[in-house]
């Protein structure tokens, strides 16, 4: 019985995995496919994308036209369940509400976590991204390099399905043959942006997203992923055949009932469950890792949200994959006389070096795109093309005034009209109404372009989380308090984004709505890009890091952290693909150590 209650759990498992998102899903998948018996604990409810996804529902069928509210901040149809910037009864604290120092924390309480709604952008870190300190003297190097992780990027791409192309640009790795699916064709605004950006020396190449532009190769991929494991190959082949390719409609943020994009719930968990090796308990709010007298982890304590009872589960190995901050919270709350500052925290680094992505956006209006004929531009839901960081040489030579790069996510087109389509046009229409207003909405519809910079933040001593001394959530679990600070590197980078986007829009003959040249104002507050990583960073030295290169905590041999908490740097590349690659690598290591009876 794959979905189990605390009562029907087995007395002991090989591995407990806390969390069911990208990290937990990947960890459990790898372990189960290779024969380990795993208990997955998810704080949220069970979630079934096949029946719960609003695929073609239109804004008129939703309250408030589907516009965001505190209960559904990314809109009514966003996949997130019981989450958002606030989770009822589960507060978090911060030291300031100011733009410059605040941190917002997006959580979901559902099976599959935030993978159900994420943007699916799946970029590999490049060689520089694992050794940033060696390159510019700032932040931390990873204890591994690109070559260590590359085979796992290959595996993840083969498993989940990622479209893209190999362009051979600097620090923008290519994938081996057969790993990537073909990229979607660009829409009109993509061509225009690419043409005009090129005139400024800015490249635009096919994006990489975890969306099936065609069916996965269910013959070859399972053999490449699980050599010599006939059972795993058979299960995976069947799962791959049951995923339909993209039908070129409906926003990915709603999730996908035909399983055309990656969600843990549609890609990682079904094959893992099919092995018979995975038990999942939902509504299980883990708050503590338990320790035996020998200093080894014995399991975890959790609150069953359906009964309110405190429960315990046991295993040989405990893996935290609850999201960077939640995993740090569990470690910090696992206090005992031996570990008064939290578990695996002899370095004092648990909760430290939180990073998000530097984000800054500009909108432009482009006359060349006005009044075009009717076109279906739903495409792959955007990111047909993107711009990787292109100024490595200038940056290394110190010409930019900030140390790390950013990529550009851009888009446009005749998207499904909604509450925003005819709103806020006063800057263009001069406030008209009536028949002229209707004509203007027609004229401007589809003529807007959107640029989002997504850049690397350098870890610093003033961005961290800790346990609040007094506040507890509704379960009685002490909550996190966040501290946040950007450096001049990030602020200058955000200002550079704004200037660059303005130049591109002007090169298109368009008009930027607003360019913010003050970096402090241009930068989105911490956490808002929802790429938070760090808090239990990996390293080569137990005095300055929480885990080793295998995501194994230095202090407790059978305790691992496989989510974004272990990132010692946060490249401009969106973190999810790397989270999965690192988790797969860690799971392989756990399997090997278990086979050798070392765990």
């Amino acid at each position: 019985m794959p979905f189990v209650t605390p009562k029907s759990q087995q007395p002991a498992y090989d591995v407990i995995v806390v969390g069911s998102g990208a990290a937990g899903g990947q960890t459990a998948y790898t372990l189960c496919m290779e024969g380990a018996r795993v208990l997955m604990l998810e704080a949220g409810r069970r979630y079934t994308p096949e029946t719960e996804t609003p695929m073609f529902q239109t804004p008129d069928l939703a309250p408030l036209g589907g516009d965001g509210t505190p209960q559904k901040p990314f809109g009514f149809y966003d996949a997130t369940v019981d989450g958002g910037w606030q989770v009822p009864g589960e507060p978090y604290m911060r030291t300031t509400e100011d733009h410059a120092g605040r941190f917002d924390w997006w959580r979901a309480r559902m099976l599959g976590g935030r993978t159900n709604h994420w943007g699916r952008i799946s970029l590999r870190n490049g060689p520089y991204d694992f050794k940033p300190r060696s390159r510019d003297g700032l932040g931390f190097d990873w204890p591994i390099n690109y070559e260590d992780v590359a085979p796992y990027y290959d595996k993840v791409e083969l498993l989940i399905g990622v479209y893209g192309s190999n362009e051979g640009l600097e620090n923008t790795p290519s994938s081996p043959p057969g790993c990537l699916l073909p990229p979607p064709k660009p829409i009109v605004s993509d061509y225009l942006i690419a043409q005009r950006a090129k005139r400024l020396g800015i490249p635009a190449i096919p994006g990489h997203r975890a969306v099936l532009t065609r069916a996965l190769d269910s013959q070859s991929n399972p053999r490449r992923l699980h050599p010599g494991n006939a059972k795993a190959q058979k299960i995976l082949a069947a799962e791959m055949r049951s995923r339909a390719p993209c039908l070129w409609a409906t926003p990915c943020g709603r999730g996908c009932s035909i399983r055309a994009n990656y969600q843990s719930t549609t890609v990682h968990l079904p094959p893992a469950l099919a092995t018979g090796n995975l038990d999942i308990t939902t509504d299980a709010m883990v708050y503590e890792v338990t320790l035996g007298p020998d200093g080894h982890a014995t399991g975890v304590n959790f609150v069953d949200r359906t009964t309110g009872k405190h429960e315990h589960a046991s295993a040989r190995v405990v893996v935290l994959a609850a999201s960077a901050c939640e995993s740090a919270r569990i470690l910090l709350n696992s206090r005992s006389t031996h570990f008064p500052d939290g578990l695996a925290n002899s370095s004092g680094k648990v909760g430290r070096y939180l990073m998000d992505t530097v984000g800054s956006d500009v909108t432009g209006q482009v006359p060349l795109l006005e009044s075009l004929p009717a076109l279906n531009e739903d495409a792959a839901d955007g990111h047909q093309l993107y711009t990787p960081w292109w100024l490595y040489r200038e940056q290394l030579a110190g010409k930019l005034g900030f140390a790390r790069g950013y990529h550009i996510e851009f888009g446009g087109g005749k998207r499904m009209p909604g509450p925003g389509t005819g709103a806020g046009l006063e800057w263009l229409t001069g406030g008209n109404y009536g028949a002229k207003f209707k004509q203007d909405v027609r004229r401007y519809y589809g003529s807007f372009v959107y640029f989002s910079g997504r850049g690397e933040m350098i870890p610093n001593e003033n961005s961290y989380c800790e346990i609040d001394p007094s506040v507890k959530d509704k379960f009685g679990i002490p909550v996190l308090r966040f501290h946040w600070q950007w450096s001049e590197h990030e602020r200058r980078q955000a200002a550079h984004m704004q200037r660059t986007f303005g130049e591109i829009i002007e090169a298109m003959g368009g008009k930027p709505q607003k360019i913010e040249t003050d970096g402090a104002r241009a930068i989105a507050p911490g956490g808002l890009i929802i790429h938070e990583v760090g808090g239990a960073i990996m390293g080569a030295d137990p005095r300055t890091s929480v885990t080793n290169q295998w995501c194994q905590t230095w202090d407790v041999a059978n305790l691992f952290v496989t989510d974004g908490a272990v990132f010692p740097s946060n490249a401009d590349k969106n973190p999810t693909l790397t989270i999965m690659a690192i988790a797969w690598r860690a799971a392989d290591h756990i399997l090997e150590r278990m086979r050798r009876k070392e765990l």
Binding site: L61, K72, G119, N376, D378, G422, Y433, F437, F448, Y450
Partner: protein, 211 residues
């Protein structure tokens, strides 16, 4: 594009839909962090698949007279033309009633702006012609709208009324272009399953000098 951009596209295909709408629900300041959301609303886990009706999650609260005024004003902003019906014909009044009746912070901030704006329109009608706004002739209604339709040109004493008009125009447009008639008006032909996506038509790209 990431999910924030997706969101922005979904909710703000135009640019100036205020940023605070796109990040609705960020943690409220200070002690509010410790409190659950005050009003029930549709909750954090609503049924997304079943179509919802206006008034299903919270009662509509506008009076008959306010709804009548809402319809008149909406139709001044989006009248019928050869492409599509008027705003009131596609349910815009219900949308606006749902909006100003909703328990969420954005909507509760908008509610007094809309209700005060309605009252101002009636007072202005009474001042000019001794009638409520809905009972005025079209020329007088138009003259009143002309005096407040552009926040940049509004006189200081009309600034509040102009802010109301800008908000009301946004809400009317939000409702109208969310409707099937609004989608048709704009020639939107997506949201249908396709077996393949062919990208931009080559002849159009050639015409735009993009090939």
């Amino acid at each position: 594009m990431d999910r924030r951009t997706t969101l922005k596209w979904m909710l703000a295909a135009s640019a100036a839909w205020p940023a605070w709408r796109a990040v609705a629900g960020q943690a409220a300041p200070g002690a509010a962090l410790l409190r659950p959301p005050a009003a029930p609303g549709y909750g954090p886990d609503p049924d997304l698949v079943t179509p919802h009706k206006r008034g299903e999650f919270w009662p509509l609260t506008l009076s008959a007279a306010q709804r009548q005024l809402a319809a008149v004003l909406s139709d001044l902003i989006i009248p019928a033309d050869e492409h599509s019906p008027s705003a009131s014909a596609v349910g815009v009044v219900d949308f606006i009633d749902e909006w100003v009746s909703a328990p969420y912070p954005t909507q509760q901030r908008d509610r007094p702006i809309v209700l005060d704006g309605f009252a101002w329109l009636d007072a202005e009608g009474a001042r000019r012609e001794g009638k409520g706004f809905a009972q005025l002739d079209a020329a007088t209604q138009g003259a009143i709208c002309d005096s407040v339709c552009d926040t940049a040109r509004a006189t200081p004493e009309r600034r509040a009324a102009a802010s109301f008009f800008a908000l009301y125009r946004d809400l009317t447009a939000a409702a109208f272009y969310s409707s099937p008639a609004g989608r048709k008006d704009l020639g939107y032909i997506g949201n249908v399953p396709l077996t393949s996506f062919d990208g931009a038509p080559p002849e159009l790209l050639k015409k735009l000098n993009l090939l």
